[in-house]
């Protein structure tokens, strides 16, 4: 038995369509009609449900009055990544869940789609709308050009500080560029947005510069007035079973990163039968994109039930709509190989124990697989924080410990985004960067 792994399973036109904008923008008319559905609530619950606290009724009202510039500025004022958040936020558990129309008729105002209408308009109409205040002479180092780092950098630049961003990779954007599903941020949106954000000026980005390899935290503290760490999550959790080194077994995030970066998706090999282990966003995205590359049978296997999956219901539906099969209550036992190549994976059925956690029943089954993607969680890798081999920062539950102002245990060093505690979402990372920038600005102003 040889593994069936091949590129070009889908004709080019279909392939292009598969990775184009999954949810195309509202037309101007659709946006007006949708905007008119907003009740313009007072003390609106949606605002509280947005981690960046965008004044949602206000920006929607401006769409209704055809003041699209004002609308976009309202959004970007609170969330400089308003454009990508409009596309990637799981609104069904954020603003749209809190929309009073959800309570009324189970059909929220399409806040995300409206946010996209306003921000797209602004990005199409001219340069950065933000001006910098007079230069302060203060210099700040930001490590990581993901949503957390760039949100922090942008706000600091507005205040007139000079920011240098150190980014290990060749491109900015963090997981917007390397992680989010391709059809959520189609047409190179991640890069276009970063360009729009950096157009404010005052932010220099140095690519291929890695904390812990090219410089350390002590040097940054010495050379800069403040430091912000937006490192994201550097590692993927292993399954901890035999066979993980077999060919065809990969971390889902690596597969997605390759898919996001490959010049021509027709050249990307994919298995005929793909099994994805995990229950989050990453599992959904790896599975759905495998299907869209042409994999015939894609199965997500999760050790607990649908309600326990961290992927939202809408994401689960989306995967299923894409022909992905989701199997619940099964945990992997071992990966089966032939000639160094994975050919299948053996599972034990599970059931909830007294605490609702999965316990094996002992009953087993095997799923044949040409490729297996591991999506059982990412972890923070603290190694880059060492100075002379010694950890320089306190951790909390494996991530960088911070207070409400995103201050770490070291004076002058702040952190935010996935590398600190909290929900791992783009919008949360942006809010962290924003809070840290305000705190840094307050501290530097004295």
């Amino acid at each position: 038995m040889t593994a069936d792994i091949a590129p070009g399973r889908v004709p080019p036109a279909e392939l292009a369509a598969n990775f184009a904008d999954a949810h195309p923008p509202l037309s101007p008319h659709e946006a007006l009609v949708e905007a008119s559905r907003c009740y313009y609530c007072y003390d609106a619950p949606c605002v509280e449900a947005c981690p960046t606290g965008i004044d949602i009724p206000a920006f929607i009202r401006k769409i209704g009055s055809n003041n699209l510039r004002g609308s976009a500025l309202k959004i970007l004022e609170a969330n400089i990544f308003g454009g990508s958040c409009a596309r990637v936020c799981p609104t069904e558990i954020l603003c749209e869940a809190a929309c009073v129309r959800t309570a009324e008729e189970d059909r929220p105002v399409r806040i995300g789609a409206l946010q996209r209408r306003a921000t797209d308009w602004l990005m199409e109409h001219g340069p950065s709308p933000f001006a910098r205040e007079a230069a302060t002479g203060k210099r700040i180092a930001v490590v990581g050009a993901g949503p957390a780092g760039l949100a922090c950098a942008h706000r600091l630049a507005r205040y007139g500080h000079a920011v240098t961003v150190f980014e290990a990779r060749a491109k900015p954007g963090g997981l917007n560029e390397y992680g989010i599903a391709a059809y959520k941020l189609a047409d190179d949106f991640a890069q276009r947005e970063v360009e729009f954000i950096l157009a404010i000026g005052g932010v220099a980005v140095e690519y291929g510069k890695s904390l812990g390899r090219d410089f350390n935290l002590a040097e940054l503290r010495r050379d800069y007035d403040a430091v912000f760490l937006g490192l994201g999550l550097g590692g993927a959790r292993p399954l901890g079973i035999t066979g993980e080194t077999l060919a065809g077994v990969r971390d889902a995030v690596d597969f997605i990163a390759e898919l996001r970066q490959v010049e021509d998706k027709a050249r990307l090999p994919i298995g005929r039968r793909v099994v994805v282990i995990g229950g989050g966003n990453t599992a959904i995205d790896a599975a759905t994109q495998s299907r869209r590359l042409g994999a015939e049978e894609v199965t997500i296997v999760y050790r607990r039930g649908a309600a326990e999956m961290s992927a939202t219901h809408k994401e689960q539906d989306w995967a299923q709509m894409n022909g992905v099969k989701i199997r619940h209550w099964a945990a992997p036992l071992r990966l089966l190989g032939e000639g160094g190549q994975v050919v299948g994976i053996e599972f034990t059925r599970t059931r909830p124990d007294r605490n609702g956690r999965a316990e094996p029943t002992g009953e087993t089954f095997v799923l044949p697989a040409d490729m297996v993607f591991k999506a059982v969680g990412q972890v923070f890798v603290p190694d880059p924080l060492r100075v002379d081999g010694v950890p320089a920062l306190e951790l909390d539950n494996g991530r960088i410990a911070v207070d409400a102002e995103r201050r770490t245990s070291l004076p002058g060093v702040y952190a935010g985004g996935d590398c600190v505690a909290g929900v791992d979402l783009t919008v949360v990372a942006v809010q962290d960067g924003k809070i840290a920038a305000e705190a840094i600005h307050r501290a530097l102003r004295g």
Partner: protein, 426 residues
């Protein structure tokens, strides 16, 4: 099954839904389609003397509200732009082919008796059921001393109506312009001139919108605009009030009234009829959706009448007139209080901010964590019902009448009224 047939100023029609004099009734082709769709009658697009007038392009302005089109509609069209004989021939043919439908001809000629005499004779020859005198067109024709230039001067209304009654045996309906301060003056003048009925309203003078790029009122005709006549749902409240003023006027009792202005469905029609209209005329709603809307008008009115036990239109015609009183006749001791049904409340906060900012601070906003709760502070509530109007959920905020705590008290008797009627001590 309710019987919708009406006899209006002696003119019979199978239902009370007529098309008002306007583009929908400008040609045989349109009118035949209207009759096929079920309209009970039409008032033919206003005829004038030859040579026909000339129209401009474009002709319409409109007000959209929250994405809803034609909430208000305006036009700068004039009367028919087709030769008189062409219209008369078509009218004669349509009436011959559709004997059971009402066919009234709208007229507007210069304010000279021979003009009216001449056209009336030719119109009568068509076999039509009646004439409607267009004293209402607020633009274009009034500059030529016709239309509302006549309708705004009660003496002219009476004079022209009398000429028409003198020179024709047909029922004469006088169509009133709303562009006056007191609708009773022209209405009474029409009656004094011998009118068999009045119809109202014609359009309201208006500018619907300004094109901010071209800096001109809409519709823009080669860079310029002019004021036009406003109609559609937005004018319905104005029409209802003018109709009701006439319906309760001592001097107008017994004169048939045709209700016009923003009728778009059976419910609107029922409101006009309840305020005294014997039938209704429709223009904008038909221009918006086509003639098929009459099907639900007929069906809906009939079902509603069945539910209420009304067998004919006359059974409820004018039923609300006696409750249309002057402000001074309202009971100042009546109390009603807002009540919020918490099980329906969606926590939008609109009632709170409306009352808090602009009214009586009678709604309390409470918070427990992220849970919001809005409660009426009855001691502060004046019962204005603003909150019930702004609440987006049907039935969530209701106004609850309070038991009477004092006898009826009108302004005439109120202690704060310097001119109050005091009972003289015996």
């Amino acid at each position: 099954m309710a019987d919708l047939a009406t006899t209006f100023a002696g003119i019979r029609s199978p239902n009370p839904f007529w098309l008002a004099s306007a583009p929908p009734t400008d040609k045989e082709y349109n009118v035949v389609r209207a009759f096929e769709a079920g309209w009970g009658g039409v008032v033919w697009k206003t005829l004038g003397e030859d040579p026909p007038i000339v129209n401009v392009a474009s002709r319409y302005g409109a007000v959209s509200y929250n994405g809803a089109r034609l909430a208000g509609f305006n036009n700068i069209e004039l009367i028919t732009d087709r030769p008189l004989q062409v219209n008369l021939d078509e009218i004669a043919r349509v009436k011959r082919n559709w004997p059971d439908r009402a066919l009234v001809v709208s007229l507007m000629v210069p304010c000279e008796e021979p003009s009216w005499k001449q056209i009336l004779a030719r119109v009568e020859d068509t076999g039509c059921d009646g004439v409607e005198l267009n004293f209402g067109c607020p633009h274009g024709m009034s500059e030529r001393n016709m239309g509302s230039a006549v309708g705004q001067v009660p003496e002219y209304v009476e004079m022209v109506t009398a000429w028409c009654k003198h020179h024709s045996k047909l029922p004469v309906i006088v169509k009133l312009t709303p562009n006056v301060t007191n609708i009773l003056a022209p209405a009474r003048a029409a009656r004094a001139g011998g009118a068999d009925a009045v119809s109202l309203i014609n359009t309201v003078q208006s500018i619907t919108a300004v094109d901010l790029d071209r800096m001109a009122p809409e519709p823009v005709v080669d860079g310029k605009g002019t004021h036009g006549g406003y109609c559609g749902p937005a004018v319905r409240p104005i029409a209802l009030r003018m109709l009701a003023d006439i319906a309760r006027d001592e001097a107008m009792q017994g004169l048939p009234l045709s209700g016009i202005g923003g009728v778009g469905g059976w419910h609107d029609a029922a409101e006009f009829i309840a305020l005294g209209a014997g039938n209704v005329q429709v223009c904008t709603a038909a221009m918006h959706h086509g003639f098929r809307i009459v099907e639900d008008m007929i069906d809906g009115l009939s079902n509603w009448m069945d539910g209420k036990g009304y067998r004919t239109i006359v059974d409820f015609r004018g039923a609300a007139v006696r409750n249309y009183v002057h402000w001074g006749d309202l009971n100042l001791n009546f109390r009603t209080l807002a009540h919020i049904d918490q099980s329906l409340c969606i926590r939008c906060g609109l009632c709170y901010i409306a009352c808090e900012d602009t009214s009586h601070q009678a709604i309390a906003a409470r918070r427990e964590g992220s849970a919001r709760r809005y409660e009426v502070v009855e001691a502060e509530c004046v019962g204005c019902n603003l909150c019930a109007h702004v609440c987006p959920v049907d039935g969530c905020i209701t106004m609850v009448p309070q038991p009477a705590s004092a006898p009826t008290l009108t302004w005439a008797e109120h202690p704060n009224n310097p001119q109050r009627v005091t009972e003289t001590a015996e």
